[in-house]
Amino acid sequence: MLAKTKSYALNGVEGYEVAIEVDLNAGLPAYDTVGLADTAVKESKERVRSAIKNSLFTYPIRKITINLAPADTKKEGSHFDLAIALGILIANEEIESQTYKDYIILGELSLDGTINAIRGVMPLIISAIQNGHSKFIIPSKNAKEASYISGIEVYAFDKLAEAADFLMGKSQVEPLKTSEFVSIAAENKYSVDFSEVKGQYVAKRALEIAVAGGHNVLLIGPPGAGKTMMAKCVPTIMPDMTFEEAIEVTKIHSVAGILDDSVGIVVNRPFRTPHHTATVPALMGGGVNARPGEISLAHNGVLFLDEMPEYQRRTLETLRQPLEDGTAVVSRAKRTLEYPARFMLVASMNPCPCGNLGSKTQECKCTPSEIHRYISKLSGPLLDRIDLQIEVDSISYDDFRSVVANESSASIKARVEKARAIQRARYEGSKTKTNDEMTNAQVNTYCALDKMGEALLKNAFTKLNLTARASTRVLKVARTIADLDASESILSKHIAEAIQYRSLDRKYWD
């Protein structure tokens, strides 16, 4: 008899239906998988056979042909095991079920018949829902992840035998209960807080502005100034993720296989710190399986590039496109994938190779050409996408020992959320979400200056040697400062403050 079970396969963060056809033929015992299956799928032969045998079913001694349709797309991964095993049992009439065709079956098998966790449950289910499916059989280890999706019936099992019993109607199993996102989000807190950062007032203010307007930021300072610590605190002042945002992030993390199965959803904004030896595929996504890269894992969160000039120039340049349009495009031989990658870039660097340039306590030992080479590793177009550049210095001993309570992340976050609300109202109906994403036309409309502001900006450019490309950046940052100030128009004091956050534009670096 021919059995036809349904499963799903991943292409990036989108899934597509795979029909698994199992046919038992007369002939010498054999097991053939057709339909462009990769090694992991082909190896399912051994897992499926042992799992069936060890679940006390009979493995058919016949010629087994398995076809994965559509037959012309490459399929990878081990999550077809369960669908194949159930298909064999149905074809062999070990299981008599009329309902099995309603279910999308996902799961990897262990030799003893246990169903193992798989990658990508959330994106697979979401794609299936979009295609009109509503019933699922999944590994119980992935149950948490699937439980956040409402309006569907998900059945989670530990053993092949349990799933078989369920399909035969021998056992009554309740579908998973939907988990409440809000309560989970409240339980999970960040491990750092801005109140632990002593001193560094101006840097904290700059980060507040950066988060409020969705701007990218570069921290410049000597080693030990606390750049990394402050960067880690950035997610703590970002507005809480909405359920939709959390789902977006969870889908990517699920595909990458780094999801925490005990929580099942990403509630905290991601904070990713790829090492400076990271390759282009590691950052952008790619590799044999076209996995999402660090920039996609940082989607809706923070990508922190520590010691930015140490990264390979080529690697940094690839960031330009995603910074612009918020997606990472991965091209493989036969397909092109798109992963979302809308992240806030927080970068850090030393002012010079030895790190002591401009320090009051240490002497810089770098030659001018060394400093020049170091700074010029950051290309103009990349710096163009970083709105705030702020210098931080090592904090003084007094600050370090000070017991004065610093402002907590929660109170900074409250201000950020207010400013974000103003921006949401302003950009309603357009694609823009934050000040950083403003188009040129929007800059002209929303960043109009009064006469005093115009004069100030003009003076700033001539007197302070600001480069021309800084102009729009200053305006956007000034818009955010005005929003934090709940001011309808940009006043000259907002411009004046924004100018302070353009350190690298000042030509005193020569």
Binding site: L357, H372, I390, A460, E497
Partner: protein, 339 residues
């Protein structure tokens, strides 16, 4: 422009390495054209030079600058781009110094170079990093013609980050080299070109120079060629001022404390360099008072003032634009001293 065989011979001679070697060959014949039989090399070079607008003056030309002819080792060729009338200008003041300028040196340059230009001087320097670049930059900013003497062929730019500056000087001033196109900035070129800087100038001003600075070679040439040498004394512990202080101890230089010292010594009238009195509001004055004792970090100013970050950032920017204070590396601020 057509060149005579004598001129072509000198162009070809300029490709010989080392001044003494050139001198020997030049003096071995009565007329330079006796040195070579075939001038295709020179013709090729001239064709290339014309494409990039490079011209040449040779020592046998009538308008070869007198100031150079008088020195012991005048260059046989002067390749140039720009305004040739500057060769014979009586207003050239050499401003040279360390490549690693300290904040002190930058302050001196900002004050002195501007005053020199306002009094009618034109700055001649070597297009190197540090003091040289600052001198040229201030000239360009003040629309004052400036002269750069480089140590390589004019088709090359060294240091490369000054390429744009070199182009602008060629448009509004004069770029000079003793070396033919294609010459690299070799180590021994630099001391050789320094004699041209001092010879073309009325005096040599050194704001900051380290113990081994190349600008001290220019200083020695200045004394040998009978030009006035002006140096600014510096902190005895600062390596960037060691060379200047040494010249003072050796009693070879005029101690310079104000721009007027240079200006009047060279027979010009000092123009008032003072910025108009700046009207400050109460808040700005408070910040100036805080900064009176020296440079402070933003966070330190914040702690000593009663303002919040937003207000303070705004006021600091405004003071910067007014020219009352300046931002230093590391987010430090200081008052701009006026002399």
């Amino acid at each position: 422009m057509t060149y005579s065989n004598d001129q072509k011979a000198l162009i070809m001679l300029s490709a010989t390495d080392g001044y003494n070697a050139r001198k020997k060959r030049f003096e071995s014949v009565d007329r330079p054209c006796e040195l070579y039989d075939d001038y295709t090399v020179a013709d090729n070079m001239i064709a290339k030079m014309e494409k990039s607008g490079i011209k040449v003056l040779t020592i046998i030309d009538e308008d070869y600058p007198k100031t150079l002819k008088e020195i012991y080792d005048p260059p046989y060729t002067l390749y140039y781009q720009g305004d040739r009338s500057l060769f014979n200008s009586n207003d050239l003041l050499a401003v040279v110094g360390t490549r690693r300028v300290s904040v002190y040196g930058k302050n001196i340059m900002q004050n002195f170079a501007t005053a020199f230009i306002k009094s009618g001087f034109k700055i001649i320097s070597g297009l190197a990093r540090g003091v040289d670049s600052i001198g040229h930059r201030i000239s360009l900013e003040n629309d004052s013609p400036t002269v750069a003497v480089v140590a390589n062929g004019l088709d090359i730019c060294y240091p490369s980050e000054n390429a744009d500056m070199q182009k602008r000087i060629a448009e509004r001033g004069l770029v000079i080299s003793e070396y033919p196109i294609g010459s690299k900035p070799l180590q021994f070129h630099f001391p050789e070109r320094n004699r041209i800087i001092s010879a073309l100038s009325q005096g040599v001003f050194i704001p900051e120079a380290g113990d081994k600075s190349g600008s001290l070679i220019t200083a020695d040439y200045a004394i040998e060629q009978g030009r006035d040498l002006f140096v600014v004394p510096g902190n005895i512990f600062s390596p960037q001022s060691a060379g200047c202080n040494k010249k003072i101890r050796e009693l070879q230089a005029i101690i310079t404390l104000t721009p007027q010292d240079v200006i009047t010594a060279l027979g010009k009238v000092a123009k008032n360099n003072n910025v108009e009195a700046i009207q400050l509001d109460f808040a700005s004055q408070a910040i100036i008072d805080i900064l009176k004792d020296g440079a402070l970090h933003f966070d330190e100013i914040l702690q000593r003032s009663s303002m919040n970050i937003a207000e303070l950032s705004g006021i600091l920017s405004q003071l910067e634009i007014l020219g009352a204070i300046r931002k230093l590396q590391g987010n430090n601020f200081e008052i701009i001293p006026l002399i």
